[in-house]
């Protein structure tokens, strides 16, 4: 083998072979990492709204729950949008998720009033459901409203199977 070829082989091993080993090591060590549970997708929220009765802000709750919530997830950070609520941000920590919901239109409850959604994921069902309670802010007389949410199937993206 000529000197040039020998140098090339050494350079190839150092600059290509070693990084490849490094990549394999990174892939192996990363297998043990866990990422936040996936809640990305569209969720239909179901709550027993008859229990609210004529309580103040009943309209607010029903208007927010009238259309499905679309959760867009990036790690523990959630962006929640819906045609009946303003886009808001939330978080997921373990199986607990929490985010505010602000009605898109005035529901007769005053501007800026929010409902806080706090829920626990059902980890046994591959995070296809979660349940929790809705609490109105600035509404001392409002008891938390229980609800459960079911994940809806996503339509297939263009070019996807």
């Amino acid at each position: 083998m000529s000197t040039t070829n020998r140098k090339f082989v050494i350079a190839y091993i150092v600059l290509v072979g070693l990084p490849l080993l490094g990549m394999v090591a990174a892939l192996r060590s990363g297998r043990h990492l866990t990422a936040p549970i996936s809640v990305d997708g569209t969720w239909k929220i179901e709550a027993n709204l008859t229990s609210i009765g004529n309580r103040s802000c009943a309209n607010q709750v029903s208007s927010v729950l009238s259309s499905p919530l679309v959760i867009s997830q990036s790690g523990p950070n959630l962006v929640v949008s819906s045609s009946s609520a303003k886009t808001s941000s939330g978080t997921i920590d373990g199986t607990n998720l929490q985010f505010p919901l602000v009605p898109a239109a005035d529901s007769g409850c005053g501007n800026g009033q929010t409902i806080t959604l706090a829920a626990v994921l059902d980890s046994k069902s591959d995070a296809d459901t979660f349940a929790g309670h809705l609490t109105g802010t600035d509404c001392a007389s409002c008891a938390p409203i229980e609800f459960h949410a079911i994940k809806q199937r996503k339509p297939r993206a263009a070019g996807a199977h």
Binding site: L15, L27, L33, A35, P36, S74
Partner: protein
């Protein structure tokens, strides 16, 4: 049925904004395609949707996006065929050890750094629906890609296509693109196999058979196109239609086999005959409508999916900065070191590294696939789009700084130049 008024209005606005911003970018010595990429972002929620949400909702109602997406995908299918047609990995052989080592290092260096970065990012920007291996491999593929068409554009604008720097860069970019797309195909197969009734082995065997048929059966038949072109000096409309039919058939086959339409289109281009005049002739037939009309739609569609508002807070911007740093260190740093080790002067080697760091449009294509198959989140998609814009934008000024034109070699006889400033891909040989 699409609302034709909305669709036509969208086409007009996208076309006008892309041309305008493209021309503005030319004034600051950037390739027009970089301006068009920025124009797409401007039309999305990051700018138009932010400052004029009602105008944005009127112009791009959610119900219209499916048609815009379909049209832009058709454009990208034809574009990927043209990219495959334009590349010629055989060029690498002519460039010897330097190009072989540089091209391989420019893939492995970003890959290993991206894998290390994935260890940090996976728990922070991903979720349990994506495995770490898929996430890390995708990050590696996305960071190791080089935008062959933009690179060719920059080289031609700086009159460098015939220089040693230009020829090595083009050869390395070709190898990088082929390798990057093979790795991406593997990732798509892995991800889709998780949600498909078809086993991964059936997909792999199917793809292997398809690849063998394409290379050993279809490729020799495709030489007929070049024979007719050489004999008559042109191809009839029927033959051009047949060529497009073959591209579509190949694209449909790869989609059916479980990867993506774009791989089939790219492969059909890659196995086409590589005679410079023939390649230029075919590019001229298809480039104008694709680059002038359909690609701006893809930029707009990508811009509509990019929401820089999702990159919130100092922490997220730190991730974004880290992504740009790692992508640049891997691609620019890796290529520079490899070229320097094989005997290229350090400034020229750094110039080569800078060119290899150009990601441009190819990066956007890959990122859209990643978002479609759910390997990356919308926020990470936005960060990666920012990385693609930054690394592409920085190429021209950094190259000027590192390699003043006077220090580079004069063009050689085998120079391949664009025939018009609108072309993104390299054009006909100037062999006299």
């Amino acid at each position: 049925m699409p609302n034709l008024f909305t669709l036509t209005f969208q086409l007009a606005v996208v076309l006008a904004v892309c041309r305008l911003v493209g021309e503005l970018f030319r004034l600051i010595h950037q390739p027009k395609v970089v301006g068009e990429m920025f124009a797409g972002i401007m039309l999305g929620p990051s700018l138009l949707g932010w400052i004029a949400p009602h105008a944005s909702a009127y112009l791009f109602p959610p119900t219209s996006l499916g048609f815009l997406s379909a049209l832009s995908q058709v454009g990208v299918v034809v574009f990927m065929f043209l990219v495959g047609l334009g590349i010629n990995p055989g060029e690498l052989k002519k460039e010897g050890h330097s190009a072989v080592l540089t091209s391989h290092v420019s893939i492995t260096a970003p890959f290993v750094l991206a894998s290390a970065l994935a260890l940090f990012l996976y728990p922070r920007v991903s979720d349990s629906s994506v495995t770490f291996t898929n996430f890390a491999l995708f990050m590696g593929a996305a960071m190791s890609i080089t935008a062959f068409p933009v690179l060719a554009r920059i080289l031609s604008e700086r009159n460098l296509l015939g220089s040693r720097l230009g020829t090595v860069a083009i050869a390395c970019a070709a190898v990088d693109d082929v390798t990057g797309w093979c790795i991406l195909a593997y990732i798509v197969v892995l991800v889709r196999a998780e949600h498909s009734s078809r086993t991964i082995w059936m997909t792999i065997i199917g793809l292997a058979i398809f690849g063998v048929v394409m290379i050993y059966v279809v490729r020799p038949l495709l030489r007929g196109f070049m024979r007719i072109y050489t004999k008559k000096g042109e191809l009839s409309e029927n033959l051009l239609a047949l060529m497009i039919l073959l591209v579509l058939a190949s694209a449909l086959m790869t989609e059916y086999l479980g990867i993506h339409l774009l791989f089939g289109a790219f492969l059909m281009g890659a196995i086409m005959p590589k005679g410079p005049r023939f390649v230029r002739y075919v590019l001229d037939r298809f480039e104008t409508i694709t680059i002038t009309l359909l690609l701006p739609l893809f930029f707009a569609f990508t811009g509509l999916r990019t929401n820089i508002g999702l990159v919130k807070g100092s922490e997220m911007w730190m991730y974004c900065g880290l992504i740009i740093l790692v992508a640049t260190a891997g691609k620019l740093g890796g290529s520079t070191i490899a070229a320097w080790v094989t005997g290229m002067p350090i400034r020229e080697a750094a110039g080569l590294g800078t060119l290899m760091n150009t990601r441009g449009l190819m990066e956007l294509v890959i990122l859209n696939i990643g978002l479609d198959i759910g390997v990356i989140s919308p926020a990470l998609f936005s960060m990666m789009v920012i990385m693609a814009l930054v690394t592409t934008f920085m190429t021209t000024p950094v190259l000027k700084l590192i390699c003043p034109e006077a220090m580079l070699n004069a063009p050689s006889e085998s120079t391949v130049r664009p025939s018009s400033p609108t072309n993104v891909l390299p054009s006909e040989s100037q062999v006299a």
